[in-house]
Amino acid sequence: MKLAKVKVEYTGGTTITERVSLDPATGQVTLPPRLLALLKAMDETECSPAFGLEYGGMVLPVAVSEGTYKVSIPTEPESGIGHILNAIVYPSKDQRQQNGRYLHTLSAASIGGAVGYAHAAPTLDFQTLVGAVGLAGLGVLLWYVGFRAMKGE
């Protein structure tokens, strides 16, 4: 059994945060009597809530059936390289935020590079123009992709 944090959010704005017991082998969630009583009381005046459990940096939905609470624990890749690749291909919200920051750094470098490239050229010929415009365009593209990666909820 492990301790895990749950969050119950109601449409009215009420949010309940509590610790529960979790059996990682079966996904069985055991709620403390206080939380069960609170949920019962809230059910009389609120719509069904969003019920999530934090596990391994992920928020898993808690399913309720016949008075028992369960979560589906995702299977993680076993090997080290698989785990790393999984984190790169499926970044979390915070990792996407960091990717966005990295892209904005590359965008700034591209735009700075475009200005430097144009100023370093002795004459503004076609090749210089293509290089500078290309770098500036790349800067805008990288900024946009970084901007998308940083979007919130």
Binding site: E9, M58, R96, Q127, V130, L141
Partner: protein
């Protein structure tokens, strides 16, 4: 001109890669959305 093309292809590839991973991450977050 070769260097310009290389830089543009590299930059567009980086942008496309992060756009793809961002999409994957958002999709997985949606699938794990609360209350589903």
């Amino acid at each position: 001109m070769g260097a310009t093309i290389f830089t543009l292809v590299l930059g567009v590839s980086i942008a496309a890669f992060f756009l793809w991973t961002n999409h994957n991450g958002e999709k997985r977050d949606r699938e794990r959305d609360w209350g589903k």
